[in-house]
């Protein structure tokens, strides 16, 4: 037998998988050496998740072979894959929501001492094992899931977007623990959209594109461009960065009525005093660290929640939304980060796009199917939705799902679009398509409010940005001045001359939340300290 094969801890080759007409994997291969952290990269829909599911036995491949330590094997369930040394931490925690942590551990035969050890390493040492999983915050669940996987000492550990829902200091701990796996006998397969993390912990990267392995790259400082190139396949036209020009254009004469104006909006203890004006024809960015009240702000604007104080004006007149339908009627439409909140996952692309405007136009009576088809086709075209799997939205990739949520509003003609981190977890190509679309909307004199956790999006898309900290607007910055350091300082509510906290590295805002804040986010929900402390940095009183 080939000698080379035994050098590899895990070798998969020629893996293919189709779901009906949709090809998820064409010919994927992956070779992992012992003691390496191996990145699995690819745009959304490239087949990363399918490959991981196949490796862990959750999905059966149509063809291909998988060998662990040189021995060929096929797993038919996660339990079987686990016995051959492959364990995955999935994007959604695999903990039983109604059982306490101790029972969850027992269910998966996890050695409890080892689990406690890893939990400590990962910064959650104080966890009460009798807490019910349902009552813990997502970040804690993901850490518990990881500690559970580490405790059984798998040969190959697969981490699928492990850091996506984590605050900064937990992310740091996770990266630290993952990095320490290097050089031993065990390996880690690491999936992340964040290049910095890849650069920080990975030795090599396998890049997938459209279900095929298109390259394996040694990760060095200069490999980022190469990886992006491989992922994209073709060069995506860069969004013109003309922030300076836009900022000037955005300055308005005093007599223009803002499309949407908030006056001292407040909501419980989360949102204290937020005021801003959003004018037609502009994209206004909203920047904030996690949990500064932006969730409540968007809930209020989209009609899901009533403010406890303040006033909301649309086209100069006061409005009060008791239901999202009221907001939609006033022309305020909402695009959420979580596609599952917005879409009817079992229904078709066409029905999903048509839903909002059929309910609006044809309140009673029959739906004009011809008109519906035309508008849907127009929207699908505008957004370049890959609708091959259009029969059921849940079978589209995340990026295409997000395009559907935007398309449904564009098809009906949009006046004001509220976007809450619309590009979260989406590949670069779809991201830039969404940027172009938002600019086009603004050019057609729609108004767009864009909360983003990626600071560079502000200069790419927005005319200006407001920064929220502790439930208040603490800064308003023109796009021309809104480079990442400036936004970051403002997001931490620091004066412009103050130094950034040392822990801060490049990445998204969510990653950079302060250590103190993060501790609270990670602690079980019922033990978190009073709200007032959230987001305060040490030495930030001045």
């Amino acid at each position: 037998m080939a000698v080379a094969a035994t050098d590899l801890l895990l070798e998969a080759s020629g893996i293919s998988k189709t779901y009906g007409a949709v090809v998820a994997l064409r010919s994927a291969s992956l070779a992992v050496r012992p003691g390496e952290v191996h990145a699995l990269m690819g745009a959304n829909g490239a087949g990363k998740s399918t490959l991981v599911k196949i490796l862990t036995g959750a999905v059966r491949p149509d063809s291909g072979r998988i060998a662990v330590s040189g021995l060929e094997r096929t797993a038919h369930s996660p339990a079987e894959a686990r016995r051959s040394g492959l364990v995955s931490v999935y994007q959604e925690p695999a903990l039983i929501p109604d059982l306490d942590i101790r029972s969850n551990l027992r269910l998966a035969d996890t050695p409890i001492e080892a689990f406690r050890h890893w939990l400590g390493e990962l910064g959650l040492g104080g966890l009460d094992l009798s807490s019910v999983a349902r009552q813990l915050p997502l970040a804690s669940l993901r850490i518990i899931d990881l500690a559970r996987a580490l405790a059984i000492e798998p040969d190959v550990l697969m981490l699928d977007e492990m850091t996506a829902a984590l605050p900064a200091n937990l992310t740091e701990r996770v990266l630290d623990v993952v990095g320490r796996q290097r050089g031993g006998d065990r390996s880690v397969i690491f999936i992340s959209h964040r290049m910095i993390e890849i650069a920080a912990v990975c030795d090599r990267a396998t890049v997938l594109r459209e279900g095929e392995t298109v390259g394996v790259v040694d990760v060095t400082e200069r490999s980022e461009d190469r990886i992006v190139e491989l992922m994209l396949g073709q060069i995506v036209e860069a969004v013109p960065s003309e922030a300076g020009g836009r900022a000037a254009h955005a300055r308005r004469a005093a007599d223009v009525t803002p499309r949407l104006a908030a006056r001292s909006l407040s909501s419980g203890t989360k949102l204290e005093d937020v005021s801003f004006e959003l004018y037609p024809g502009e994209v206004l960015g909203v920047v904030a660290l996690d949990g500064q009240g932006q969730d409540e702000l968007f809930d209020i604007l989209s009609g899901s929640q009533r403010p406890s104080g303040g006033e909301l004006l649309v086209d100069g007149s006061t409005v009060s939304f008791g239901h999202p339908a009221d907001a939609i009627r006033a022309g305020l439409v909402y695009v959420a980060a979580d596609r599952a909140e917005a879409l009817l996952m079992q229904r078709s692309v066409a029905e999903n796009i048509a839903l909002p405007f059929t309910t609006r136009i044809r309140r009673w009576g029959l739906i004009d199917l011809g008109a519906e088809r035309r508008r849907v086709a127009g929207a699908v075209e505008t957004l370049q939705i890959d609708a091959r799997a259009g029969g059921e939205v849940r079978r589209l990739s995340g990026g295409n799902q997000q395009k559907v949520t935007i398309a449904r509003w564009v098809a009906g003609g949009v006046q004001t679009m509220l976007c809450f981190d619309p590009t979260r977890g989406i590949d670069i190509r779809t991201k830039s398509q969404i940027y172009v679309l938002l600019r086009d909307l603004a050019a057609a004199s729609a108004a767009v409010l864009l909360y983003t956790s990626e600071l560079k999006e502000v200069q790419l898309v927005c005319d200006r940005a407001i920064v929220i900290f502790g439930g208040r607007v603490v800064a308003e910055i023109d796009a021309a001045d809104a480079d990442e350091p400036a936004l970051l300082r403002a997001a931490y509510n620091l004066r412009s001359d103050a130094a950034l906290p040392e822990a801060v590295v490049a990445g998204s805002v969510a990653e950079r939340a302060s250590a103190a804040e993060v501790q609270q986010a990670a602690a079980p929900a019922d033990t978190s300290p009073p709200e007032g402390d959230v987001g305060r940095l040490p030495g930030d009183e001045g």
Partner: protein, 334 residues
């Protein structure tokens, strides 16, 4: 896996905190118990003759229904529902009655064991069909209700048969103290022997797991199909013991199913078991059965139209569940 893992505790709270936590966890059952006590007091108030013999009668009439509720609770916790419980009770009851008639006492023991095994098999068939065909639980068990019901009529055309004397003696009459009916003791023993160890076992955890989140259970290494079959088999076992209790208390086997299936669903809902699966236990539904039966009795004592009793039973069911959700909602907001 080891039993020791359960005892490696982290930080132990003060006894008072633990008591509070325990009360919180069992809040629903404790409230049901309180309602039950109030109902008993009310019953005594409207009917001063309510005494030992009434309690004995209540215990006997409640036993089959309580076991049926336990049966339903297990498969609902596992994320399913079984509409064939009443039919399985009828089938096991007539099999027991027809086999025991005219036979010796010792043979009765073999019949009882055989019928319990039959229950396990019937349930396992229900579960197996659901897992293999992937037809929804509600459809499969509805269909199997006809199958088992028809089979019961094949065994006995009309109510007939007999019961071993020891089996009757097992459930009829008081257990030593006149206030404690044997039927209640039997109920507690069955639950203690079958349910309590199960709940703490890995199989029990797996049943809760597949009911709570099937995908997470699968990814935690639980065999979802096997666990489902086990859950339905246990439902069959409880149904068989409910069927046996019918034979024991009436002395015959009746091939026509009583209103047990729907009552068991009602009791499960009242007993704090989430129909979405993964939450609750067996004790709540059993207390729920007592409440439902007592309400019926009280309506009779008040000489109200029995049809009105049915109407009020339905309304009470909705009211209680709504009240429960309200409490949960308020707690989650705090």
């Amino acid at each position: 896996m080891s039993a020791a893992t359960g005892t490696v505790d982290g930080v132990r709270g003060r006894p008072v905190d633990e008591l509070v936590a325990w009360t919180r966890r069992n809040g629903w059952n404790l409230s049901l118990l309180a309602i039950l006590v109030v109902l008993l007091v009310f019953t005594k108030m409207i009917n001063s003759n309510y005494g030992v013999s009434s309690i004995q009668g209540l215990a006997i009439s409640v036993l089959p229904l309580a076991l049926a509720a336990g049966a339903q609770a297990i498969c609902v916790i596992g994320g399913g529902i079984d509409l064939s419980i009443g039919s399985m009770m009828a089938l096991t009851s007539v099999v027991a009655a027809s086999q025991m008639k005219g036979q010796g006492e010792e043979f009765g023991v073999a019949v009882v064991l055989g019928v319990l095994l039959l229950g396990l098999v019937l349930g396992a068939i229900n579960g197996g069909v659901i897992v293999v065909t992937r037809v929804p639980d509600i459809v499969v068990t509805l269909a199997m209700a006809f199958v088992w019901g028809g089979a019961a009529l094949l065994v006995l055309k009309t109510p007939a048969g007999g019961s071993a004397q020891w089996l009757k003696d097992l459930v009829l009459g008081p257990a030593g103290v006149e206030w404690i009916p044997k039927a209640t003791v039997v109920l507690l023993v069955v639950v203690a022997v079958v349910w309590m160890p199960l709940r703490r076992s890995k199989v029990g955890l797996s049943i809760y797991a597949i009911g709570s989140n099937q995908l997470a259970a699968f990814r935690s290494g639980v065999s979802v199909g096997r666990t489902k079959v086990i859950a339905y088999a246990l439902t069959g076992l409880f149904s068989a013991s409910a069927g046996l209790s019918l034979t024991a208390s009436t002395g015959i086997g009746n091939p026509v199913p009583g209103p047990y299936t729907l009552m068991s669903v009602a009791a499960v809902v009242l007993g704090g078991v989430s129909l979405a699966g993964g939450r609750g236990g067996v004790f709540g539904p059993i207390i729920g059965v007592l409440i439902l039966v007592l309400i019926q009795n009280d309506m009779a004592f008040l000489s109200l139209d029995p049809n009105l009793a049915l109407v009020s039973q339905g309304l009470i069911l909705i009211g209680v569940v709504m009240f429960g959700s309200l409490i949960q909602w308020r707690r989650s907001r705090r």
